[in-house]
């Protein structure tokens, strides 16, 4: 019963600001991936994101989210995901509060995405994010880390 209530809270807590920004908070746990998928499905249908663009969006958010679940340190228990739509691109901000500084984009990887040091975080997930994104950045201040990705939304298939 409690888990069903929590799922409902996650699914219907979208905060619409103006016409182009969608923001939702997820518990920082792998079990949130289903809720994230449902939310992205609704968002994509509403804003006409399909095909390769939808795949890229799902990948960016999943890979960054799972990286936070696995490697971020601190007391922060949630991740706030914001999606801001422009004419031909999408900005994704993922915010963690009360965490130690950890810039995922500084982790060195080999050219195929495998971590140079297997004992350290990194790997194909972040490699995929960097392949997809036009721009990636990380900002840290007052125990809050913000990971930002900007990606095109044209249905650019291989």
């Amino acid at each position: 019963m409690a888990s069903a209530y929590l799922e409902k809270e996650q699914r219907f807590s979208f905060l619409m600001i103006g016409n182009v920004i969608v923001r939702q908070t997820f518990t920082k746990n792998m079990t949130s991936l289903d809720a994230i998928t449902h939310s992205l499905e609704e968002f994509s249908k509403t804003h006409g994101i399909a095909g390769a663009s939808r795949t890229r969006l799902d990948l960016v958010i999943e890979e960054l989210f799972t990286n936070m679940v696995k490697y971020s340190r601190g007391n922060g228990m949630s991740v706030e995901v914001s999606l801001e739509i422009f004419s031909d691109r999408l900005r994704i901000d993922m915010v963690e509060c009360d965490v130690d500084e950890f810039n995922p984009f500084l982790v060195p990887t080999n050219s195929d995405g495998t971590p140079i040091d297997p004992s350290k975080p990194g790997g194909r997930g972040l490699f995929l994010v960097k392949e997809i994104a036009d721009d990636v950045s990380y900002h840290y201040s007052d125990r809050t880390g913000t990971t930002t990705v900007v990606m095109k939304t044209g249905d650019k298939d291989v």
Partner: protein
């Protein structure tokens, strides 16, 4: 939703979405795989790096014994992810 099954011919079938939460379910199939192995992606909608890692692990395990891994039936989006990860030049994809 994700599901994985082994057919009577020994091939492995993946269905649904293979994300980081589901990828550990493949480990037992990787551990049990032997000989030339086919993984059927025709019912898989999505894969992320966790699933890719399992395919690489399966490929490496089979290669050590001189066996091959063949990935079949990918839709355009799943094939795109393998391409992004540059695994389409390493793994046998049909």
């Amino acid at each position: 939703m994700f599901d994985i099954q082994k057919r009577t011919d020994g091939s492995i079938v993946l269905k649904g979405r293979l994300d980081a939460a589901q990828a550990p379910r493949i480990q037992e199939f990787v551990a049990a795989a032997e000989g030339n192995t086919i993984v059927d992606f025709s019912e898989l909608e999505y894969i992320s790096s966790a699933g890719l890692g399992q395919m690489v692990a399966l490929h490496q395990k089979l290669a050590r014994s001189g066996s091959t891994l063949t990935l079949t039936g990918m839709n355009q989006q799943v094939r795109y992810v393998f391409h992004l990860a540059r695994l389409d030049t390493i793994l046998k994809i049909e």
